[in-house]
Symmetry: C2
Subunit: 788 residues, 2 copies
Amino acid sequence: MDICDYLKNALKKGLQLKDKIYEQVINTNPADLLLCETLFHNANGYIGIRSCFEEGYAGEFSAVNPGQKEVSPDNVSRNSVLRNFVSSIRGSYINGFYDFIDMPQAEKLYGLIEEKQIMLNIADTQSIRLFLGSEEFNMWTGKIIESRRILNMSKGFSERLVRWVSPDGKEVEICIRRTASFTRPCLFLIDYSVKAINFSSPVSFISVHKGDVENFFDPADPRVASHVQRHLDIVNFNTENNASFITAETVRSKLKVCTAVDHVLSKEGQIKTVFDNKTAVCTIDTQIEQNESITLFKYSIFTDSIRYEACDKKARHELTSVLSVTPDTLYLEQQNYLDDYWNNAFLEIDGDDELQQAVQFNMYQLVQSAGKDGHCSIAAKGLSGEGYEGHYFWDTEIYVEPFFVFGNPAIARGLISHRYSTLEEARKNALLLGHKSGVLFPWRTIMGKECSGFFPAGTAQYHINGDIAWSVIFYFLATGDLDFIIQKGAELVFECARLWIDVGNFYNGQFRINCVTGPDEYTCVVNNNYYTNVCAKRNLEWAVKFYELLKNAGKLDLLAKKINLLNEEIVVFANAAQNMYIPYDEQSGINPQDDSFLSKKRINIADIPANKKPMLLHYHPLFLYRHQVTKQADTVLAHILFDDADPQTVKNSFLYYKDITTHDSSLSTCIFSIAASRLGFYEDAYKYFGNSASLDLRNTAGNTKDGLHIANMGGTYMAIIFGFAGVKVKENGLYISPHLPKHWKTCRFNLRYKGSLIRVTIEGEKINISLIEGKSVPVYVNDKPYII
Amino acid sequence: MDICDYLKNALKKGLQLKDKIYEQVINTNPADLLLCETLFHNANGYIGIRSCFEEGYAGEFSAVNPGQKEVSPDNVSRNSVLRNFVSSIRGSYINGFYDFIDMPQAEKLYGLIEEKQIMLNIADTQSIRLFLGSEEFNMWTGKIIESRRILNMSKGFSERLVRWVSPDGKEVEICIRRTASFTRPCLFLIDYSVKAINFSSPVSFISVHKGDVENFFDPADPRVASHVQRHLDIVNFNTENNASFITAETVRSKLKVCTAVDHVLSKEGQIKTVFDNKTAVCTIDTQIEQNESITLFKYSIFTDSIRYEACDKKARHELTSVLSVTPDTLYLEQQNYLDDYWNNAFLEIDGDDELQQAVQFNMYQLVQSAGKDGHCSIAAKGLSGEGYEGHYFWDTEIYVEPFFVFGNPAIARGLISHRYSTLEEARKNALLLGHKSGVLFPWRTIMGKECSGFFPAGTAQYHINGDIAWSVIFYFLATGDLDFIIQKGAELVFECARLWIDVGNFYNGQFRINCVTGPDEYTCVVNNNYYTNVCAKRNLEWAVKFYELLKNAGKLDLLAKKINLLNEEIVVFANAAQNMYIPYDEQSGINPQDDSFLSKKRINIADIPANKKPMLLHYHPLFLYRHQVTKQADTVLAHILFDDADPQTVKNSFLYYKDITTHDSSLSTCIFSIAASRLGFYEDAYKYFGNSASLDLRNTAGNTKDGLHIANMGGTYMAIIFGFAGVKVKENGLYISPHLPKHWKTCRFNLRYKGSLIRVTIEGEKINISLIEGKSVPVYVNDKPYII
């Protein structure tokens, strides 16, 4: 059965949720095309390729009659910005691969960041033009009979299926499958099948491999680059037996990237690759007979000098390796990887198909986005677009790691290892900020240096240190992996703890932390942000605990010597933690977001006109700072993560903040959903959850074209596990206190806990927990202890 | 007696303080040359011309043997940036004349300013080369026998006197006098005399008039432009009877400027002007006989389209006008203007020659800097350099206006009128910041739009509104000029008051002002900055008072109608003022700078290493914000200006803040001097005063090359009048409670008060006050009432 048949059959029998298939009829509306480039992108945590049409789009949709315009990859494989219209972001990315770029400050002050890193568009290897005789296939001429896109999340590829009749009447069925291999991270495979329905004729492909690409820019959008800038110089290009190799070097960071492309045709044909102005053009000529299917396999290999000293050699090696196996083997590897993935990250909701699909989609995007090699992390937009310039934020630690800790601890460990690898940069950053000890992790970064342009809403978010500590603690509590704590985790927690001691100070007997910004960027540079203080307290407490654990395990000395850690310092940590000032307001019975939050003007967010949302795009920061209005969960998030506040205070706080939180950040509704669940506001919880789960699929923020909101995707998972299922990980065991949304019949999920894999099945009031793998573990169900 | 003789005589008899002459032996050290360009610049409030050598400097002092290098004005009339060396800032400026320039933000947020105004370098009309036969005069060849510069502050010109022997042995005496006319603000006159001591020969001048100039830039200095940018397009140039006219238009603001230059020679000669690539070159050829003096008069006229619809016509008219009178008449006009000026602003200290000279120098620079036509104000650097890009700050209202209110109320009125003329821009600024009523003046500006790049230390300084209100109130109290209040002053005060109501809010019964920055830029965006709250309170109180005054004078209706001011609003003003929250700390007995200031870490400024000062160039803003360290007088300034705090609190506060104030701003020591005087810390007062008085003359901040510190110069005056003389202006009269520094024999000064001119003479404990002009006025001496 060829690919197209498989697809048609799948569509015929109706898509099943358990098939994990997301499908759309193709719409050539420019905005939808851009959106789908993101939604259907292929990634494996190392590379990401946006899902553009191989043959390109009409160059100028709005300006000319598209039928009269020749469409060529050359026309579209560059950034083209038309008036009010961004046609395409034809990007391919490598996680953690960057160049430096100037970021001049409007007013120069000491220590302000003036150079940032950006993730680069690496090369275009997705362009393939198809000629049927003298006619070229594209979506804007001839007649489209049927056209669909499919994201197959259980098999790990995307597909485009088009039935098309050319202007001269040639009918074809085209099926294009794209795979970013999880088992061979350097490989991107396009599997391009054509079936001639009513004709026989010569058929040609022109397949392009272009290294001379630029990052996307849009002068009208402040969130992406405003002008084109050259980041890659091609330093070598050649062909070997019609395979093309391009090696480029970044202009400032002096990193190298190599892309290699080769083609295999399913039948006899002529294949010829030549370089034209540093772009490899491969021409594949053959003949197609009526009812015949032919397939072109385009193998693209991406390697870089961060991972491989000789990335060009590595590319050759990888190319040889993938060509030595059949495509079916590659698909099988992919399938096996994902079987294992879904088995670990198993989560099924019965009774809510739409949101179940959204949750599946989000979980799939998480594994597509997550760096798995310790050289990178998870960008805010994953590898799906250039929004936030490929930077890593606290999103990784707070919003995504819980998912991987429960579903794939090795990935979580890799993410923490990546932070660990940037400790020296964090130390320099702390020095730049005037701190005499400890490290301060950057608010946004790729290779470890701070990239925040506006420090009050960036660098000042010192909670990043506590977030990283939290993720280490969470990892340890859920895995019990003391070895990793000894190797890396404890050092991170100690160094982060040291900073709190330097940044804070005792005043009236309490340890206070001034002039930092909490998660809520609508209030910057405040004193005693509740979230920050609680998170620093947790960091300090666990620095003490890890110290004891390592000491008891006889593993302290080496580390203590390495980082010059003395027992006296631990005493200081304990003292600061114990006396940490925690803002509390008697009158309202809530934890105020910071010292002065409650004295500010209240804002009624219902009064904010729709055209003034999100507020950050319509109000001056000083206006926002001066009002009781928050962009996202801040104190509410602290109550979830640190879970040690008085329950009545937590409830009062939730009720207080929910009225003044705009959720202008995509990191917010998932957290409010958890809080609402825990507090028994079940309808609210479900509403918040729905908002979070479908944010990208429904493009509710309007900017999914620039990439997925990865943290929110992790947050959706958290909303189910920490919220509806009421899971908590405590020192003495796993806690589960579920309460499902009314119309959910069952919710079943797997969790990795202390090396074991357990299956939780919730059906109304009934809870079933079973051990799938590993040894028995303690679980508290509705606070009653069990051993599973 | 020719000019050189006059000068030689003056030098021979020894300079007298009462001659108001500041003199230096010329030093061709590059840094000193740059410094002297500022110190000896000529300005009249409309134009300012830096004091560069007419013939230019050696092009590359350090790189080549200067004697082997031809020096030409063309070489030096451009910005030349050498390695580690800035050779010259050859600038001519017009007050209030600007172009717009991009100021991109590193991170784009709503409302952040992305375009600023800058004061432009207009033209070079100061270049004159002198040839004695085939030898060209310059300071780096031949032999300098004597060379001096003189700033004649009683006559209003600067002079350079050089006795020079050419390589071939021709000895000349050169005297160059430069005048920016106070009575004819468009006129800059160079009076270039040469006397042949030991030879006769042909003599030539090549005099340049260049419109194609650029602003100074220095890639290494964050405080000035970092790269050259074109701001002026020459739109017309021509000669008329050897006079040259150049009209240029600004690139973005589309303003026009015209410069006209003509020459008169004291004896027969050939004068020929031709344009060479838009630069007018005038060649003057004549013959000099041994012992003969010849003089070239170079008249430069500056006009602009802000003041004159047809600025080119105006330039022609002005040129004709100045040429119709003799230079002696022009000098007489200048002398008369300054006689009047010094008579009003009379201030003599007996017993402290050095500081008396510094004070004279500063007072002279104030009249050179102050805009007098209502179209402009006083730039932070006056018209002496490009530091702070010619922007106006609160410096005008708080540091300079008191001097003019006492010495020349018309100038003070003009400065307030200029603010008044920018009310509409201030209204737009308030809207941008989200305020529904009132106006918010920009922190830094030329034409009224905000130019702050970093809003926390710029736009957030809302006290600018209260500063402007304070200056109106001070003007009114000292002059009694109700007419001006009716015309302009009250409207300013009302509109500024309205903003406080919108920015502040009631909390626990008190009116609070959150998220603003006080004068101290080492602590930004705080709640209830003491200075701001007290200044807002004063603003609101006087809005109520002016409302009553206007109502009683029957002058309210027109204004109330114009700005839609209702009695209800006045009630709100009064209520907010009465309930204004004033930070006070019981424990320390001081007014804390803001709500959280005292909870921060203290810093011992004695521990800051010398190479880490000023702190703003060596510490990240967050470090500064997090510590109890202040850049400048903040609460201490409030205690001086608003003078209604409890004396013990004032004393406690002074003692507290003096230990944590770095005086990294030039606006600080003058205020600390006043505070120390008032509190009886007389030695401190004198020390602070000395630091303030000689800041520019001694270049203690190291950046006088970029322009004078004008606010500090006004502050020096304030330190004497408000400090040593203990002057206060209250509603019921003028208060004087002097205490001179020990070694001062007498201090005598004039004050304009309610239209009268009084002379105060302080000699030890004795105080003599006499009426020079006008009707008698009430004066309180050491709190005892007298009628003078």
